[in-house]
Structure formats: structure tokens, C-alpha cells
Amino acid sequence: MDFQIAMLLGQDGITNGAIYALLALALVLVFAVTRVIFIPQGEFVSYGALTLVMIQAGAIPATVWLLLGAGLLAAALDVRLALRAGQPGRLVRLLGWYVAYPLALVALLYTLPVKDFPMAAQILFALAVVVPMGPLMYRLIYQPIAAAPVLVLLIVSVAVHVAMVGLGLLFFGAEGSRTPPFSEARFEMGPVMVSGQTIWVVVSSLVLIVALYQFFERTLYGKALRATAINRVGARLMGISPALAGRLTFFLAALIGALSGVLIAPITTIYYDTGFLIGLKGFVAAIVGGLASYPMAAAGALLVGLLEAFSSFWASAHKEVIVFTLIIPVLLWRSLRGRHVEEEE
């Protein structure tokens, strides 16, 4: 391996690492606030990327029907609750978000020539379709069992993942796709060529991380989420609704997932099930941080990205084996920091 190849691999590793870092942050966030181990995080990556592909191909993205269906289901549940609670005033807002919004999206996608829009607008459309699935998913699937043990929530997460992969195959087919890069620019940095897309990925990730940091430090909602993460009961007693915290968290997780998908779609071919492996690598990173520390998770993500890039050079057949086996020494290290026998939730 010469210097040039090393630099190339390093560039690859950092690009992927940036994506894993984003996903790891989302996973840590979701776990801290809701105790859900969010296995379907990766599906939002695929859904985001492939929805964009369909929009660019001039088709109506099938995901919008899923959004509408889930919206109708949630509306049915919540309208009943609202009526039973004698709060008909809430109906307008409920129906607006759950039903009118997806319908409006469908109408816009049908009438506007989205195919010929600039890429930024297409991306906005893709996000508008995929991201609201996050809070809807929380409402329909996790909220009814929010108090269940972590283990049950985990099994549910795996079930959701499995269902979403199946739906993904139905929506997008088995073929993989790529999107055109955000920019064709190439920069010469010393001896290495850096592609515009790499810079897009790294810069967007950094911007998103800083924005999240600001959100958690400066805004009331951000602080509410942090409070929930630290002490669920205490936050609830202070008037922070766990359901709201859950939906907000899932909104952020879906946003991060879909955006990650959009960012890497020009670099890697995305299949309906690609997201899972990407998401799992985010998990390996999050576990490095003990599912609790954001900076450690980010560092773990870079480690995973670089390890993956270099092992694809030295032992490409065993790339995945190496990355996922990394978790074992990490777990070992965590278990050696031993503890007493404790009760689990």
C-alpha cells in the first residue's frame, strides 16, 4: 500500500465514518430518551435515498402511500381518543397532520413537475415524505408499549425492521440505485483528489452535529429531551410529556436517517436492504460509546469507517466479518470494567 492508496482509503473511511457518526448519534438519542434500541434506523437511510431516486425518476414514491396509510391508522386511533376525552377541538389538528398532510404531498407530487426541479427541492420532497414516518412510527408502535422492558422494545424494533425491509422490497424492487452527486467538483489536496460529494457528506454531518448540539443546549424542546433522557419520571413530573418526547426523538432520528441516505446515495449503490448494514455499523459505533456518550460514539464511528475502508483493501471478502467482530473486543472491554450482579429492567 502506498501513500496515495492510504489517503484514498482514509478519505473513504472518513466519509463513511461521518455517516456512521450521524446514525450513532441518533441511536444514542433514541435509546436515551425512549429506551428503544432503534434497529429500524437503517431503513430510514434506504427509504430516504430510494425515495429520492423515485422522485428523480419522475415516479410517485411508493413511500408516500405508506405515510398516508400510517397516517390514517394513527388518525383513527387518536380521533377515537380525542372524542372519548371530549376534545373535538383537537380533531382539526389531528386530521390535518395525519391525513391532510400526506394527501397534500400526494397532490403536489402528482401535479408538480418535481422531476425537473433542482436537486435541493427534490431532496426536500424526499425528506417531507420519509421524515414524518418517524413520529408516526412512535405513535403507532412504541407509544402503546412505552413502559415495556428494554428487551421487549428491542424485539419490537427488530420486528419493525423486518417489516420495513419487506415493504422496502415491495416499494423499490430488488434493484439498487444511485443518485447523481451533489457536485461534480474535485479538489486537489496535495497528492490526493477529494471529490465534491465527500466534502458534502463531511460538511453536512458536521453542520448537523453542531445544529443538534445547539438544539439540545439552547432550545426548550432540546432541553426537554435531555431532561427526559436523564430522568424519565422527573421530566414527566415537570410536565414534559413522554409521548411528545418520543415523537420528537423519532422525528430527529428519521431526519438523520433519511438525510444520511440522501448524502451517501451518490457514493454507494443503495438497495432496499442496504440501510440495515449501514445502521448496524452505526450501532457498533454507538456501543463503543456505551449507548450513552455522544463524543465516544462519534469517535467509534470514525474507527468503524476507517477499519471498514482499510479492511476492504487488505481482506475485502472478510470486510463485514472484521467490522462486526470489532464489537466483541469492545464488549469485552466494557464487561471487564465489571460490575456487581444487578437486576435488569
Binding site: 408502535i141 415495556a148 428487551l151 420486528a159 472478510h318 467482530t325
Partner: protein, 600 residues
Amino acid sequence: MKPMFSPRLILGVFLAVLAVAPLVLSPFYVTLLNYIGLYALVALGLVLLTGVGGLTSFGQAAFVGLGAYTTAVLTTATELPGWLAWAGGSPWLALVVGLVFTAVVALVLGSLTLRLSGHYLPLGTIAWGISLYFLFGTLDTLGGHTGLTGVPPITVFGFELDRGEELFYLIWLFLLSAVFTTQNLLDSREGRAIRALKGGMVMAEAMGVNTARSRMIIFVIAALHACASGWLYAHLQRFVNPTPFGLHIGIEYLFMAVVGGAGQVWGALVGAGVITIAKQWLQDVLPRIFGQSGNFEVIFFGLMMVIVLQRARDGLWPLLARLVPVRATRRELDAAAEALPRKPLPAKGEVILEAKEVTRRFGGLVANNNMSLSVRAGEILALIGPNGAGKSTMFNQISGVDTPTSGEVLFLGRAVAGRDSREIARMGMSRTFQHVKLLPTMTVLENVAIGAHLRGDKGVLSSAWRLDRNQEARLLNEAARQIERVGLAEHMFDAAGSLALGQQRILEIARALAADPCLLLLDEPAAGLRFKEKQALAELLRKLRGEGIGILLVEHDMDFVMGLVNRVVVMEFGEKIAEGLPEDVQRNPAVLEAYLGGVE
């Protein structure tokens, strides 16, 4: 009244149907039943692991793969390395090698991940599930993604089982023996320890159960079941490739266990049946509906799991069991069983517990300062004090849950510090908990029998094959004796969770007594008891004292304490402010000030 069937009858009918099935069913259905049997074997391991033990694995398919690939390689390889040559060519030898190999892999993976808290283990299993799957696909000796062909059939006494209908009997023999041995195991000394893993680990450790070992046991058993299933699978299919050992199949196995009823041995069979048949049917129907081919059944499985976990977390088995009225069988106690041997008690009046200048700091807070106390055999010492005085901290130092910052605690002349609760239990110190720690779904009898864990020694294998019955009868007899002694005999077979709080506290005392202790630590035993119950408890404690047991009591209830105990130690702000006879302590001005406030 509905007619009630005996469980034996239902089992007999089931076995008869099974025996006839391959003779009358078409090959298609026999194949289906074969697969149900294979999957149920894996799901059964998960029932033990997840439903009973509270550990979750998504990686069982990888263990199935280990079993399948081991036998495929050993029975098809033309050239084996010299040290393995003896195992070549014979499926039965390959089964043995596979089981040993799987056990080793499970031990290694288990020792890496089992000590971690709940959610790391399943995440770890996802990771190694994927790793092993990719490894199956990339190793040349395993045939890469095309796999290995030409696996020979299994022979039994020279008879080749090369048709599905013949292998059917072997598959179901494996499954049924696994079901019965698992059932037997759960109904034994080791089984009670395993059933305590979910929600009762701290208690179980205090009763001398090595919970880490129990976790490892069920992890390895689940892996071995999976391995055996893989072995049968390889000889049924006659070829292996990596596909059936991937993570998605591992997930499906877990779904089977959960859908069937993760806490139920027979639930594994129901779950495997439901999922296998539904899969067959959906794979047929869905591609026609959607107009394209693909594994769309996973959409339904995923949604089904969500609904099951939202609506019926115990799975389908309890719902099914309600349809068939089975007579409940009650455990028979064997009154003739020989009593368990008892440890000799120390001579009355001998100091058995001595705390010397114990200090415990939490950061800047001094919870215990220079505390000394001693308990003699055949006396009751009460440790009292207002809320926040540091009694519970002191209790933890003595019972070995916590380690003093300085000072030492001697029990029977040996230091307690640094020993774990198991060892302390073995030395003869037994305890109850301030917040009752019981296994609510188990009977009073079984709960108390956990206390006698260290007085038995039969392990997993003898339990599984019922070689432990003699000792088991003695253990249960001992438990029953203690239950009668504390006055709970009429509740012997009730679920522990159905007792009133006061009775649950008494149950804890029976459990502690079942360990045959010479020192009993009781944390607020009278809390929540009615007057009569308190009198009965006091009577019991007097009797125990008379037998020569030393008792340390942490208590709030002054009336209860004053009429009962020999000596009192009073704590306030982490320090001892008085010690002596109950009457003297009651008149002590420092004590009066601590309890009633000073006179201005």
C-alpha cells in the same frame, strides 16, 4: 363443570397422532412437519433463554449453521487433517464433534457478552450472527456461497434414513426429548435458579445461586439445541449453503419463540408451527397479490410480532391452553424423604458475628462511622434508629453487599469483606430483604426451595434426565417443613405473588431458614404485619433463638422489638449512640432525644 382431561391423556393423543402422521400424510405435509420439528428445536432453546432466563439472542441461526457445516464438512471431506481424521465419514461422530465445537463457541461468546446488561447481549448476538454468516460464505473449505453438496444420510443400526418420512421420526424424537428434558430441568434445583434469572438475580445470589453460571448454562443449552437442529437439517437437505443461517432466520427463530409464548416449553412448538405454516402459505399467496416475487411474508411477520407484543405478550400458548381444559396437577410431596443433613450450630453464647469499627463513606457523606456490634449464637440483637440513621448501610456491610471503607466484619471468625453474597450464604448467614424479593409466579414452595439451593448438588444433566428425584424430594420436603414452621402451610402451592405483603415477608424468613443458617439477618420483618401475625413472628423468632440461631434484626417497630430481643444497638447519624438491654436503652436520654426530639 367442563370435563377436565389429564395431561397424560392429551400427551398420549398427541404422540399417537405424531406416530401415524407420516403414514397417512402426503410427502408435502411430512416435509412441513419435519421443518416445524427442526425449527421448534431451535425455538425451544430460545424459550429457555429468552422466555425463562430473560436473555435474548438473534444469533441462534449461526449455531444451527455450526451444526450443519460441521457435519457437512466431516461427512463429505475427502481429506481431513490428521487430528480430525477419526471423525470423518460418520454423521453420528459429526454430531458429537458439532456439539462440542458449538459448546466451545457458545462458551467463548457467552463469556464475552453474558456479563453485560440486558440489551448488549442481543446486540452482540446480532453482530456475531452476521459475522458467522459472512464467514460461512467466504471460507473456501465451506464451499463459499454455493455451499457443500453430497451430505450422506444418517444411518441408524445400519438402516439409512434417506427419506423425509424416515427422518421424521428422528427429528421428532430429538424434539420431544428436548422438550421433556427442558421441562424436567425447569422443575428442579437448577431450574429454579434459572427461573430466578428474570427479575430475581440479587435474591438468587444471596441464596447462593451462581447466576452467571446459570446464564451460561441456558446460553449453551440453547446453542446445543440449535446445533442439533442444524445437524438434522444438513442430513435432511443433504446439502448446506449459508442462506438458512443468516441473521434474518435468527430473527425468525426468535419470533417463533415469542409468538408461541416465550415462557412456555410447548410454546416453541406452537410458534414454530404457526410461523412455518404461515410462511409457506404467504410465500404462495403474496407474490401473486403483489405481482412480483420476493420475501414479502416478512412484512406480515414483523407486523404480527408488533401486535403480539402489544396485545398478548405471553404469546399464543396461554390462549390455546385455555381452549383445552387440562386438569392441574399438583406437586406431591414425599413425606418419607430423608431430612437434609444440617450443619452443626455454634455453641450458644459464642460470638458469631462481629463488626469492628466499621466506617463507610460515600464521597463526603459518612453513612456509618466507627460502628461496632456483635451477635452471639442464641440471641436476638436489634439494630434500631430513626430514618436515615444508616441502618441499611450497616446491614449491607454485614451481609457483604457493600464493602466498608475501613474496619472489618467477621463472621464465624472470618472476614466478610470482599466475599460475594454466594460465599457468605455458604458460610451460614442468611437474610431477608427490606423490599420483598420473590418470584411472584412461582409457588410458595418453589420460592422457599431456592433458599435450600446450596444444600443440594444435582446439576443440569441429572435434572434433565430425572436422576435428581431423590434429592429433589428432600429439598422440597425441607422447604415444606420451613413453610409449615412459619405458618404458611395453607399457601404452600399458591403463587407467591398472590400473598399479602406481610405473608410475603414471612415467606422470606422461611426461605432464609431453608438455607440452614446459623445467623439470620432480618430487614424489617414486622413491617406490614397485623398484630396477630407479629405475635406469631415473635414466637417463631423466640423458638429459633432457643434452637441456638443468632438473629440480627433491623426494625422500626418498638413494641415488637422491646418485648422480644436480648440486646439493642441504637444508631443515629451513622453512629452508635446506645447499646444495651431493651429496658435500659428505652430510658437512655440520647435515645429519647433521637426519637422524640430534645427537651428545649
